[in-house]
């Protein structure tokens, strides 16, 4: 149970995955997934826009567009959007980097990806935003276990324990803002 001392969250998985069975196996407490009609336990739903009416599930609004207001902003290449982010980003927004694209990269690009990760973390720290590291998994084989996420964070110079603590607090605070009862 050592791996579950802090609550890890993988905010971006998609596809046909049995989430309930993965919580213990992968040592991840909560997952984020696109809303596909059914409400599942331990899942935070990723929506493109704020729902017009009340809903009975936890959600976060996710966008790739810096100008659009969202809880989570997906970042593909931090260096390309850094200047724009400096001008437009709102305090408290989550900036999300996914691991999945790095699988297809050559070693040099993976090195740059780690550099991006460290830079994004430092930027989040200085601009009061929340750094988010997600798997971006589209199948169960692409999912990433908690210890592996920790290893990636450590390699990027980030302390996993404080990251997961901050992440947990941030998610709870965001979900409370978005709460509505159907």
């Amino acid at each position: 149970m050592e791996a579950l001392l802090f609550n890890r969250i993988d905010l971006y998985i998609s596809g046909d995955i049995d989430i309930a069975s993965k919580i213990k196996t992968l040592s991840i407490s909560r997952f984020g997934a696109p809303f596909e009609g059914d409400v599942r336990e331990a899942v935070i739903y990723r929506l493109r826009t704020t729902p017009s009416g009340a809903v009975n599930y936890p959600y976060l609004v996710v966008s790739e567009n810096i100008s659009q207001p969202a809880d989570v902003l997906m970042i593909r290449d931090f260096n390309k959007v850094k200047e724009q982010l400096k001008k437009k980003i709102k305090k408290g927004t989550g900036l999300e980097l996914t691991v999945n694209p790095a699988r297809k990269m050559d070693a040099r690009s993976v090195g740059k990806w780690f550099n991006n990760l460290s830079d994004l973390y430092a930027f989040c720290h200085s601009s009061s935003c929340q750094f988010i590291l997600s798997s971006g998994a589209r199948s169960e084989y692409e999912m990433i276990s908690g210890p592996c996420l920790d290893a990636i964070l450590k390699t990027g110079g980030i302390d996993p324990q404080s990251h997961w603590r901050n992440m947990g607090e941030w998610v709870e605070e965001r979900l409370l803002r978005n709460v509505s009862y159907a």
């Binding site: 691991v99 297809k104 050559d106 993976v110 084989y141 692409e142 990433i144 592996c148 390699t155």
Partner: protein, 103 residues
């Protein structure tokens, strides 16, 4: 008289779920680890295939290099998932995780 203690390096056993042949996945892990952390690091990590399975296998490596190995597993293509980790193969099998069963 000084007493020299011979200590066997600590190791970790990892159960991994993979697509394709287990041997291919282990080779991919070793290759990725070598690319990212260097050939000396990968030799020191001593990554070995312990038990082959159709979709799930057990590998072992040195504890000091476990982080490099976990990063390499995360960043291989075709992908593989670390489904369990333990200091002994017996404990890894007993935990099961519905994965690799004892042979």
């Amino acid at each position: 008289m000084s007493l020299m203690l011979k200590r066997r390096p600590k190791r970790r056993y990892l159960s991994i779920k993979h697509v394709g042949q287990s041997r291919d996945s282990v080779n991919a892990i070793i290759k990725r680890c070598s690319e990212l952390f260097g050939s000396i690091a990968v030799e020191k990590a001593a990554i070995r295939l312990v038990q082959e399975g159709e979709k799930e296998s057990i590998i072992k490596c040195r504890l000091e290099h476990i982080e490099n190995v976990l990063v390499a597993i995360t960043l291989i293509d075709p992908p593989a998932v670390t489904a369990g980790m333990s200091g002994t193969i017996k404990q890894l099998r007993s935990r099961g995780n519905g994965l690799v069963a004892a042979k």
